[in-house]
């Protein structure tokens, strides 16, 4: 479990992170969304025991990050992909991974197998003996991910893993993250990419110095936009709206393009009466659907609200 309690960090008077509390269950994938300077990197660095917290604290697998004596233990349980891949460019991909495998204390007998397996999974095995300096950004990023996984950590922190990658490379990385999730590892993903967050992660936290919201995309969507049902019609009629607004549990109804948008408290129980009302009014229904607000709407609304 990754947990923070009122975690905060100030740099020479600049508040980077303030009063952040969340908890991530083992095996869960959590996306940390937020604009530039929101404090995502700072939070990750605090959790990886790289920098100290000024207020509050965090726990990795129950170990308090404030305790210096826990640091080495915590670091051996986590894998970090920092913002910059930071590979040793004159050394080969293999040598880079070998160095980290040794530092992480991977037993000699498993080292080679693990390096090869990782390189193969990421599709760079053929170039293992080339100097990393000759690699493209995407390949460096893949090696950096492999590096973070050399010791098979239970907790993986990734700071914008696909930020500098082309769509294809980004997809490879994303699919790889999904595999890691399937293996049961806990993933903490800093990202600007809402689509990525939605695809890879179970839950989302929106940060802007303070934690603005956490939850699954669905939870957030209904929390900030309520729930709505859209009914597609052959023809719309303002009379329908009046009838619908009379119904209990219907909060609002609007006419759209060949459809009616109805905000409801609980679609499952309201939808049958909505449909029967519309049918009684002679409407010709083409489809009925629940409306889900995308993460983008949620994110933009949160950012707008926080201004």
């Amino acid at each position: 479990m990754i947990e923070t309690q009122h975690l905060g960090r100030v740099f020479d008077g600049t508040v980077a992170v303030e009063d952040v509390s969340f908890s991530i269950k083992d095996g869960e994938a959590f996306a940390f969304l937020g604009p530039n300077g929101a404090g995502k990197t700072t939070t990750v660095r605090m959790l990886c025991c790289l920098i100290g917290a000024t207020t509050g604290t965090g726990f990795i697998d129950g170990l308090d990050i404030r305790e210096k004596s826990n640091h080495i233990k915590i670091r051996s349980m986590i894998g970090l992909l920092p913002e910059n891949p930071g590979m040793y460019e004159s050394l080969s991909a293999h040598r880079n991974l070998d160095f980290y495998a040794r530092l992480y204390g991977v037993p000699e007998s498993e080292r080679e197998a693990r390096i090869s397996e990782m390189l193969k999974r990421l599709g760079i095995y053929e170039r293992r003996n080339d100097a990393v300096g000759k690699f493209s950004k995407g390949m460096k990023q893949k090696i950096a991910i492999a590096r973070a996984l050399m010791h098979e950590p239970s907790y993986i922190f990734l700071d914008e893993p696909t930020a500098a990658l082309d769509p294809e490379a980004a997809l490879t990385v994303r699919n790889f993250l999904m595999e890691l999730k399937k293996e049961g590892r806990t993933i903490f993903l800093n990202t600007h990419n809402l689509d990525e967050a939605q695809r890879v992660c179970d839950r989302i936290g929106v940060l802007k110095t303070r934690l603005l919201a956490t939850g699954t995309p669905d939870e957030l969507s209904s929390r900030f936009f309520g729930k709505s049902t859209v009914v597609g019609l052959k023809e719309t009629n303002p009379d329908y709206l009046l009838a619908l607004r009379q119904l209990p549990g219907v909060l609002d109804a609007k006419i759209g393009d060949k459809c009616i948008l109805i905000s409801v408290a609980d679609p499952a129980s309201q939808n049958p009466s909505i449909i029967s009302t519309l049918v009684a009014k002679g409407a010709q229904i083409e489809y009925v659907q629940e409306v889900k607000h995308g993460l983008e709407d949620i994110y933009l609304k949160l950012m707008g609200d926080s201004k």
């Binding site: 740099f11 660095r45 990886c48 025991c49 790289l50 920098i51 100290g52 080495i72 233990k73 670091r75 051996s76 986590i78 970090l80 920092p82 913002e83 910059n84 891949p85 930071g86 590979m87 040793y88 460019e89 004159s90 050394l91 040598r95 160095f99 980290y100 040794r102 530092l103 992480y104 204390g105 100097a131 950096a144 590096r147 973070a148």
Partner: protein, 342 residues
Amino acid sequence: MRFEKSWIIVRKEFSEFRKNKYILYSLFLMPILMAVVLPTVYLVPISTFATPPANHPLDLGISIVQELQGSNLSNGTAENIRFFNTNLDNMIVYKCEFFNCSIVNSVVRDSNLTSSTITNSVVEHSNLRFSATTDSSTPGSLFLGSQSESEKYLVLIIDSLLMFFVLIPAIIPTVIASYSFVGEKLNKSLEPLLATPTSDTELLMGKTLAIFIPSVLVTWISLLPAVIIVDLVTYPILGYYILPNMIWIIGVFFVAPLFCILSVLVNVIISARVSDVRTSQQIGSIVVLPAIAFFIVALAGIVVLNEVYMLLFGTAILAIDLVVFYVALRVFQREEILVKWK
């Protein structure tokens, strides 16, 4: 402190050094320059002008007819006389022997002089043993059993060569450390390294050792050619092998490694504030100043360069090392590196 963690880092650093041509150049060229080129350039010209040693005194055919003890002689001539504790002034002397005498304003020929002082005189075709000359010339004479002028000069030059052996291990780290620390900083490769389960001390120890080992090894390896060259060039003049001697052994095996550590640690501190390899090298070279100052003081004759003085110098550097190590350890902390290193 787990030494095996540091050693993993040392080996990684070595892999990187092998790929860096500037580090390789400095590891190969610096010792060649300092241990081979400089001794040759310095010593060869001096040795060609120096008086050769005299193992066999000149055969002068003296037949003593009189012995004189503790008198003062002036304005005269002397021949076939043996003088003890005599002061001679303005004399012309031929085929005589002198013991503990003082000879002033005189001309001496075909004589043996032992433990005597010669001032403002000419000593021609004579044997001098343990005798000192001042403002005098000694055409065709031999110095036996004492330091000649050229020998004194050679010893001084050889002492000054020792300076380079203290400087090599201080200069090489400024080159390596600038790449090792500033390079790692520019490359942003410190953060993943800091995320590993190693302590700050283990990391600093690993990086320091990685620079210390090649710098000191290269210094020690260049000692051998330097000793051989110095001995080859100076043996004909001195008549004995001057190196290795105790001063050099203390210098190369005690002072030089300590200086090397100082240089590495100072460079750690510098790289925390500097983000450019060249600037780091330039500032880092300041480390050599104390060594140069020390040798200037010694060579200018203000103090005599001897074993005690060398040991004291080494101990002073050791004390500075400890202070600087403490500072470096404070600078080389995760929080400090990620938040303050710019």
